[in-house]
Amino acid sequence: MRKLLAATLGILSAVGGFVDIGDLVAAGQAGARFGMAHAWVLLLGVVAICAYAEMAGRIAAVTGRAVFDLVRERLGARMALINLVASYLVTVITLAAELGGVALALRLASGVPYLLWVPVAGIAVWVVLWRMRFPVMERVFGLAGLALVVFAVALFWLPTDWAALGRSAVTPDDSGQGWGAYWFVAVALFASTVSPYEVFFFSSGGVEERWSADDLADARFSVLVGFPIGGFLALSLIATAAVVLRPAGLSVDSLDQVAHPVVLAFGAAGLAVAALAFFAVTFGAALETGLSAAYAAAQYFGWQWGKRVSPREAARFHTVLLVSVLLGVLLLLTTVDPVTLTEYMLIISAVALPLTYLPILVVANDRTYLGDRVNGRALNLLGAVLLLVILAASIVAVPLAIGTRMGQ
């Protein structure tokens, strides 16, 4: 149990990163349109985020410097500021989408209209950020997010044709939707799996938890358990959509439809667990994105940040936190569809990916930082190959988005 608790930072980072509202819908869509044909993308993304989160966690534990510190140092003041602006925009719009997700989950559970829940969600998220202790926050929302496992359970409960499911995972097929659309979904799914705010949050969380070189084993455990669990949950979302929605020819454009397979398997009890799980992951993701936005800004400018000091000693950090949540709420109140917005954001995010991951790889090899805890040869090879994949995704993202009209 103590071991599992050590992994909650990784679980929350992963859940907020790739099992959040955007993915509840995107994974559902991918499954409903292409079956399991994108399973390999998810796998590749999980390997990439594990490799880079391990490096970022190690740097944070040994030096106390989180990811945006490294971005500023290695890219210089100007490029890092451009990265900050891009990352902040992406993260705050994602935060808005998560707040929307919290409101949608509350509507699913209560029937009270969504827009009424939006300010409630905003206030609740801000109060948690203002007052709750970091480790408590991480454990409550990391563990509650595991309720999503109900999707994997539903898969066993339903008459799943495992052989066909396995076949569709190993023989990618465009399902008559066109390869442009296939690759567009692939890039979006990959970008969401390696969203930069996951490493901002994970490394800053390590500093908040006062990791030192003695905690490296815990940090690694958190990465290697937390992110794969997140990947498994996302995979089970794709699989249930592939099994239930795809044969019926249903498409996914709302949270109710994502929950449909679970309702089919377990009825009202299933709906209740699914609503709880949606609430937990979107709330957790809102905390993660809100904090990440403020961490990135504070680390770029060198401000005092974190929940260890009183808010009045980190006034600029807490102002950014407050303003970000407020912006998220205001954005939702314009009645824009947050999930559609997230899809656009994933493309911007894909373009900016190398600006975050290159500095991590460079510093992970810097002996003045890490002494003899620099990357080994195997990890460097893996990191370099993954960086090429990240670079490729970043280059093709915009042409694909335009060429396929956002994957139509």
Binding site: A77, R78, L81, W303, S310, R312, R316, Y369
Partner: protein, 126 residues
């Protein structure tokens, strides 16, 4: 001590004696010694210095934003004499405490007008 300013000093985190975060090394200032040899006189931190180094429209926007919070413009960077530096590794460590240095005007303004007015501002949540 031999140090490469652009590699090891610029853009690093400034940390006080107790581990509080003071700012980034946004720029440096050289002085000319009595013997005519230039030496590293002080580290500059604050949006004024940063904005100049970033340059362009982005840099100007940064300075303009910061100037909204101060009364005496242009916003002057905090100068930290290089003699106060004890150690340079992944951060630049100072021998003084953060509260012995002037507080950033933006931090001061936001603390007084916004954060301090919210209940619980004085307690760390941990």
């Amino acid at each position: 001590m031999r140090i490469q300013v652009s590699q090891e000093l610029l853009d690093r985190q400034l940390v006080d004696r107790d581990g509080r975060l003071v700012g980034k090394v946004d720029d440096v200032e050289f002085g000319l010694g009595a013997d005519g040899v230039p030496y590293l006189r002080s580290l500059l931190t604050g949006p004024g210095a940063l904005g100049q180094r970033v340059g362009g429209r982005l840099g100007r926007m940064l300075v303009l934003t910061a100037e909204r919070f101060v009364t005496d413009r242009p916003v002057a960077p905090l100068r930290i004499p290089y003699a106060l530096v004890t150690r340079v590794d992944s951060a630049v460590w100072l021998r003084v405490r953060a509260d012995e240095l002037p507080t950033s005007p933006v931090e001061e303004w936001l603390r007084r007008h916004l954060i301090d007015r919210i209940p619980g501002a004085g307690r760390a949540s941990g």
